[in-house]
């Protein structure tokens, strides 16, 4: 799982590959149902869908915070559920995650929260001291460096979570509604940041409800509904209105994928 560039080398396995994955929660609720999907290195993907459709479940799956009832989850060509327990921290270090509920450490300052992601990897102190303030300035929190999470506004907490997710320059970045608590201007700033990070070769998966943003960026859109992938469209819109549906058909035809194909093992569209 070395850093790769936006230009995908076909010889290497996709960074994420789900094969017929079903997730069943303890109560019996089906979180994801027979989901198959590939994400290539360097891609930028929007994951959209109504509330409760399984987007966060997808993120938890990649972090092995959940295990699938069936199917396999491959990250960088390795089945992460076959992995030994002791290797899981290594997996998680290589995936930067913005959690929907931020998951900040309440007894650490903003600085220490972000630094923690570097400390786990054994980064030298000097390096941490250099990088953390820089990344915090990038997300607009330069002035809040020594505050504790409960002294921050919702949007500020969210940006700490964003900063922590990419301070270690992970090859894969999962952002679960990274702008849900942010005003439009700050949201755009964060999205631009994600975009820039993607340009350096990082694969980025963004869960969002921000229709405007998705429509503007025109990147690959995977749409979930009730645990199933109902659309996987490159350069898609947040929702498929008449015209975008046509667009989707065109794209998927261009890629030579059958319109009704739900197991699409390419990034093609499947409605």
């Amino acid at each position: 799982m070395e850093e790769s560039h936006a230009h995908t080398r076909p010889s290497r396995p996709p960074i994420v590959e789900l094969n017929d994955v079903t997730v069943v929660y303890p109560g019996g609720h089906v979180g994801l149902e027979r989901v198959s999907m590939k994400i290539d290195r360097g891609e930028f993907i929007f994951l959209v869908g109504p509330t409760g459709c399984g987007k966060s479940t997808f993120i938890k799956l990649l972090l092995r915070d959940l295990e699938p009832a069936s199917g396999s989850v491959m990250v960088a060509g390795k089945d992460i559920n076959e992995m030994e327990r002791s290797k899981v921290p290594m997996l998680r270090r290589r995936i930067g995650t913005v959690f929907q509920d931020f998951k900040l450490l309440p007894n650490r300052t903003v600085y220490d929260n972000v630094a923690y992601a570097l400390q786990v990897t054994g980064t030298p102190r000097a390096e941490i001291k250099r990088q953390v303030p820089e990344i915090l300035r990038m997300v607009g929190l330069g002035a809040k460096i020594h505050n504790y999470p409960d002294e921050l506004s919702g949007g500020e907490q969210q940006r700490v979570s964003v900063a922590r997710a990419f301070v270690s320059h992970p090859p894969l970045l999962l952002a679960d509604e990274p702008t849900g608590n942010l005003d439009p201007e700050t949201s755009i700033g964060i999205m631009q940041l994600l975009y820039r990070i993607n340009r350096t070769g990082t694969t980025v998966v963004v869960v969002t409800h921000d229709r405007e943003m998705v429509d503007k960026m025109r990147r690959r859109v995977v749409q979930l509904y009730d645990g199933r992938v109902i659309r996987d469209q490159s350069a898609g819109l947040y929702t498929t209105d008449e015209s975008t549906e046509e667009f989707g058909v065109r794209v998927s035809n261009e890629l030579g994928v059958d319109f009704g194909d739900h197991d699409g093992d390419d990034i093609g569209a499947a409605l």
């Binding site: 327990r85 921290p89 997996l91 998680r92 270090r93 998951k103 450490l105 007894n107 923690y116 786990v120």
Partner: protein, 299 residues
């Protein structure tokens, strides 16, 4: 090295930011150590007092007044050869009278005697009072008819103290009880300290989950908790020891000059006691932290 410094720093942060549970843990450990620290010497003193009583139990072998010196000497050797006999002391009639004189309040009584009525005797000390029967049997093994016969014709009578049986069973029970209390106390300390540590970590289980999600290995999470446990254990035990030292200086030491029971306290060395309490508390607390965490780490 720098990693160790990091873990130390983490432990310090946890203590400072989670003051409430840390203080609770320190207090519980202090109270428990204090209980153990006070009760262990008391139990120990009671135990050694009990042993003193038990060790005074002896067997008296009365001889006929006409026993010759040779008979006495050879008998003494034979008795000393019996298993479980610790020592054999010869008491001449004159010595016996002196002892009696000391025990009587009105000395004039003995002046009235025309002759010494007391027989010569052996005081036989045993290694353990529980072996009384076996020694008694060795001194007068049963003959063919099953009736016990003294091993020597010089022996007039073999007598055990009247209360030997009672004392033996009482002291035995006391020893069992002291042991039971000590064991109970030990188990109680384990539970009390372990439980408190568990609770104080329980309050932080969400934090542990987040650390795991961010890619921290189990030991990376665990070390600060273990160090914190050591510090908490040290503080708690330290407070308890401080109280004990002060209490010893103010209460126990002034009394111990004239009091034999309290003198017994010094049979248990204060230094080693304190050292083992402190080390025990630290180890228990650190272990408790480490083990409890295991559950939240879902290993």
């Amino acid at each position: 090295m720098s990693r160790f410094a990091f873990f130390l720093g983490e432990a310090y942060r946890a203590l400072r930011r989670n003051a409430a549970p840390s203080i609770a843990a320190v207090v519980t450990i202090a109270v428990t150590v204090l209980l153990v620290g006070v009760l262990v010497p008391v139990l120990d003193a009671s135990g050694s007092k009990t042993n003193d009583v038990r060790n005074q139990l002896e067997l008296k072998v009365f001889l006929f007044n006409d026993a010759s010196k040779g008979e006495i000497n050879s008998l003494q050797n034979r008795i000393e050869g019996i298993q479980h006999v610790e020592s054999v002391e010869y008491v001449s009639p004159a010595q016996a009278l002196k002892i009696l004189e000391q025990r009587l309040e009105d000395k004039s009584l003995l002046n009235e005697l025309n002759s010494n009525p007391l027989p010569p005797a052996f005081n036989v000390k045993l290694d353990d009072p529980d072996n009384l029967e076996s020694v008694q049997a060795a001194l007068s093994p049963p003959d063919s008819t099953g009736k016990p016969q003294p091993i020597s014709s010089a022996i007039d009578d073999i007598v055990t103290g009247e209360q030997t049986q009672a004392i033996r069973s009482v002291t035995g029970a006391v020893k069992i009880m002291l042991l039971a209390i000590a064991v109970l106390l030990g188990i109680a300390s384990l539970f009390l300290i372990g439980n408190t540590i568990r609770l104080s970590i329980y309050a932080r289980r969400r934090e542990v989950e987040v650390m795991q999600l961010v890619g921290a290995t189990n030991w990376f999470i665990r070390w600060p908790f273990v160090i914190e446990g050591i510090v908490v254990g040290m503080l708690g035990a330290g407070i308890a020891v401080g109280i004990m030292v002060v209490a010893k200086a103010i209460i126990v030491d002034p009394l111990s000059d004239d009091l034999t029971l309290i003198d017994n306290f010094n049979t248990i060395a204060f230094g080693p006691l304190i050292a083992s309490l402190v080390i025990g508390a630290m180890a228990l607390s650190a272990l408790g932290s480490g083990v409890t965490l295991r559950r939240f780490l879902r290993i």
